[in-house]
């Protein structure tokens, strides 16, 4: 059996699923302000005690990362290292950040020579001495490092090299986050996402510790797997959350969208999560949330993260809601509309003219359901230049293998991971370049 929990700002929801994925019990308790783990404990305690002892998996949406960025609390001081040198010095790191957030996270910045490109001669060798000076200068002050190299999504070698140097200079246990593992092409947005990720390290580690310490009180089966939600609607282990806390940004809506689909038995739909004040509308595509395109912001900072595409409107403004629902359709009137969330009953079918409206049972706890019923996930993408002697199939296999490896790192059972190669994307105005992408899913490794 599996328990899923969604710690929201007002309420914390929990559901108990049987072995066939059916909801046996669902509860909603008020959240404790500023205490995600306490809220989780309270919600789980509200579930019937006896079946809890047979629970082998707990999947949790904590939403602590998003709140920390919004409220600028609990963020680590980050050493921001860019590897690009003169190829990338015309806009400095953290340029355009809200001053308060920048002050809250920045221990120091440097831009050192290095970085890659798409051609064989593009880029420059890494200035290892400069990396070492930066690391030594911030030793004891930086609580984490964020490393972003030009074209790291095509080749992450220099970022890994720099991480090794930083650890040698500033301490082996200082977290070092690498941009190539965070986002896609677009240096500034990827760097921003990497810095936020690093800034969340300490807070997330503390919450993971609290959660681990609270486990014995939950009365689950011994050795039950504990997983947390991530922004693509999949799960990851607590260890993976510690390594990549930014992956949890956007995970609340992602799990709600996914849960809405699972509860209503559809794989493609528009999902509207109706809260007390706000309604959030997203799209479910082949069972997973549709990702936002470029232009996403977190805490006022432009970032490239695979967060769900969402429109937020006033829950009481039904005309705005109808328009948002239509905007999230992939084609005219094609998809059913799944209404979930505590406020769904206040939206009559007639507010969404021309739509097939679905109101699944347990829609009030769709986020918790989505957490409980999702697999562990991983993804990888790489931009490649197609040329003579370049065997694309071999590269595709490698991308697929790396997606699988990421899912395993995130806690998936390596024997049961399946991979999905997404369609290749072309890059505008860049003949011969392709973006290869793969995703991987699997159940958590049983302990």
């Amino acid at each position: 059996m599996i328990i899923g929990v969604d710690v929201g700002p007002t309420n914390t929801d929990a559901v108990l699923l049987d072995g066939d994925g059916r909801a046996l019990s669902a509860v909603k308790v008020p959240s404790l302000a500023g205490d995600a783990v306490g809220s989780l404990v309270a919600a789980v305690a509200a579930l019937p005690r006896e079946p809890r002892a047979r629970v082998t998996q707990l999947a949790v949406g904590l939403r602590v990362a998003a709140r920390a960025v919004a409220e600028r609390t609990g963020l680590a001081q980050v050493g921001v290292l860019r590897i690009g040198g003169e190829a990338a010095d015309a806009v400095r790191p953290l340029f355009g950040w809200p001053a308060e957030l920048r002050d809250a996270v920045c221990a120091g910045t440097a831009n050192v020579a290095g970085g890659g490109g798409l051609g064989p001669y593009d880029g420059a060798p890494l200035d290892r001495d400069a990396v070492a000076r930066f690391g030594a200068g911030l030793a004891g002050r930086a609580e984490a490092f964020a490393v972003s190299a030009v074209f790291a999504p095509a080749d992450g070698t220099q970022e890994r090299e720099a991480a090794e140097i930083l650890r040698a200079e500033a301490g082996a246990d200082v977290p070092v986050v690498l941009s190539g593992e965070i986002g896609a092409l677009g240096l500034l947005r990827r760097e921003n996402a990497t810095v936020l990720d690093a800034a969340l390290c300490l807070l997330v580690a503390r919450v993971a510790d609290e959660l681990t310490a609270a486990l014995p009180r939950l009365g689950l089966a011994p050795g039950a797997a504990v997983l947390v939600t991530r922004h693509d609607g999949t799960l990851m282990s607590l260890d993976h959350l510690r390594r990549q806390p930014g992956l949890s940004l956007g995970s609340g809506p992602a799990c709600t969208i996914r849960g809405a689909g699972l509860l209503s038995g559809v794989r493609d739909a528009v999902v509207a999560d109706i809260g007390e004040r706000r309604a959030r509308v997203g799209t479910l595509t082949a069972g997973y949330p549709q990702e936002a395109g470029p232009g996403g912001r977190i805490g006022g900072v432009p970032v490239s993260l695979r967060v769900p595409e969402l429109l937020t409107v006033d829950a009481a403004a039904h005309r705005d809601l109808a328009e948002a629902v239509d905007r999230m359709q992939t084609a005219a009137g094609g998809l059913p509309v799944v209404l979930v969330g505590g406020g769904a009953e206040a939206v009559p079918d007639r507010a969404l003219p021309g739509c097939e409206v679905v109101r699944p049972e347990h829609g009030g706890v769709a986020g918790a359901f989505g957490a409980a019923a999702s697999p562990v996930g991983g993804h990888h993408e790489r931009i490649v230049r197609v040329g003579p002697g370049r065997r694309l199939d071999a590269v595709r296999d490698e991308v697929r293998d790396l997606a699988r490896a990421w899912a395993v790192r995130a806690g998936a059972d390596p024997r049961r991971v399946r991979t999905l190669l997404e369609p290749d994307l072309t890059v505008p105005y860049l003949p011969g370049a392709l973006l290869l992408r793969a995703r991987a899913f699997g159940p958590p490794l049983p302990l």
């Binding site: 990338a88 490109g117 030009v150 092409l185 860049l430």
Partner: protein, 333 residues
């Protein structure tokens, strides 16, 4: 041009891109913002305010916006480009001219002018965005593209001499491919007098005005009802009118840019007209590759510089240059 005006300018440049030319938001706007912050606001002057023989350096980026977003460029680039251009011509650069106002390159010119401490001409060489380097009004005026300077962020430089427009396009694209998909360029070097006579006058102030929402009213307010992307680069968009425009249906043809808007067999707008879909929620023009079902947009059409409607202008960048045959300008703006 200070940081405040730059915000409107960038939004206007996106509209003048006619759906192409790359988005200024990701890189070139912050590029210009930081350059203005470090070097001060940029004086914008009419070409006629400068001495007739003052030397003007056009600037722009070519290649893939995706690569430009990764290799965001060097603060040293503008000075290196000026040095090379001055060495080729044996005289000092007095002002910067934007090669292409539409899309991401408007902000590039602002950034470079700020770093060089030079005025930016209130003009440009296209009045909008076009995919080819030789699709510009200086080519129409018979100016020579060479010597054209192409350089990467490290200062690796290629100079193209004795080229005409088509050769410029061919050789520059080959050089850009070797540069990894991105380069800074200066082509069609000219004097202030030539700029006053031949460049598209008032482009910078026009972009600011467009960015502030000034100009003719929208042709249609509606939503994107369908998007079809064909093999190659042809895209077809259907717009369905909403509100007072309910019941109207407009078809938009696109290549790298939006090139035609048609309604009931009538041509609402046709390249070289600027055709823009402006997102009613964000106020930003939507690039061709980001148009998707359900977007709420205003359809705008703006006239291009008069020279683009001459016989030579239409040959270089009119409907047939984009494979649109059999469309007439009847009823076009």
């Amino acid at each position: 041009m200070d940081a405040g005006v730059l915000a409107d300018f960038a939004r206007g440049c996106a509209v003048l891109g006619s759906g192409g030319g790359g988005s200024p938001a990701a890189v070139t706007r912050p590029l210009a913002e930081q350059a203005i912050e470090e070097c001060g606001p940029v004086p914008v002057v009419a070409a006629g305010e400068l001495p007739e023989d003052a030397f003007v350096m056009p600037v722009g980026l070519i290649g893939s916006p995706a690569v430009a977003e990764e290799r965001i460029g060097s603060r040293a680039e503008p000075a290196r480009m000026r040095e090379r251009v001055e060495a080729l011509h044996g005289r000092p650069v007095a002002a910067v001219l934007c090669s292409e106002i539409g899309g991401l390159n408007g902000c590039t010119a602002v950034a470079w002018a700020a770093r060089l401490g030079l005025p930016l001409l209130d003009a440009d060489a296209m009045g909008r965005a076009f995919p080819r380097m030789d699709q510009n009004v200086l080519e129409l005026a018979g100016l020579r593209p060479g010597p054209t300077v192409l350089a990467d962020e490290y200062g690796r430089t290629v100079v193209l001499d004795h080229v005409d427009g088509p050769w410029l396009e061919e050789l520059a694209r080959a050089a850009v491919a070797t540069f990894g998909g991105h380069a800074a360029t200066s082509e069609y070097p000219l004097t202030a007098g030539q700029a006053a006579r031949h460049a598209v006058a008032g482009s910078v102030t026009r972009a600011v005005a467009v960015g502030r929402g000034e100009g003719p009213p929208a042709l249609l307010t509606g939503k994107v009802a369908s998007v079809r992307r064909d093999v190659g680069d042809a895209t077809r968009v259907l717009l369905e009118g909403t509100g007072t425009d309910a019941g109207r249906l407009v078809r938009i043809e696109a290549r790298s840019e939006f090139v035609a808007a048609l309604e009931d067999g009538r041509t609402l707008a046709l390249v070289p007209d600027v055709i823009a879909l402006v997102d009613v929620h964000s106020g930003w023009a939507v690039p061709v590759e980001e148009v998707r079902y359900g977007l709420r947009v205003r359809l705008h059409a703006l006239p291009s510089a008069p020279v683009w409607y001459s016989e030579a202008g239409l040959r270089l960048a009119g409907p047939t240059a984009f494979g649109l045959h059999g469309l007439t300008r009847e009823g076009a703006s």
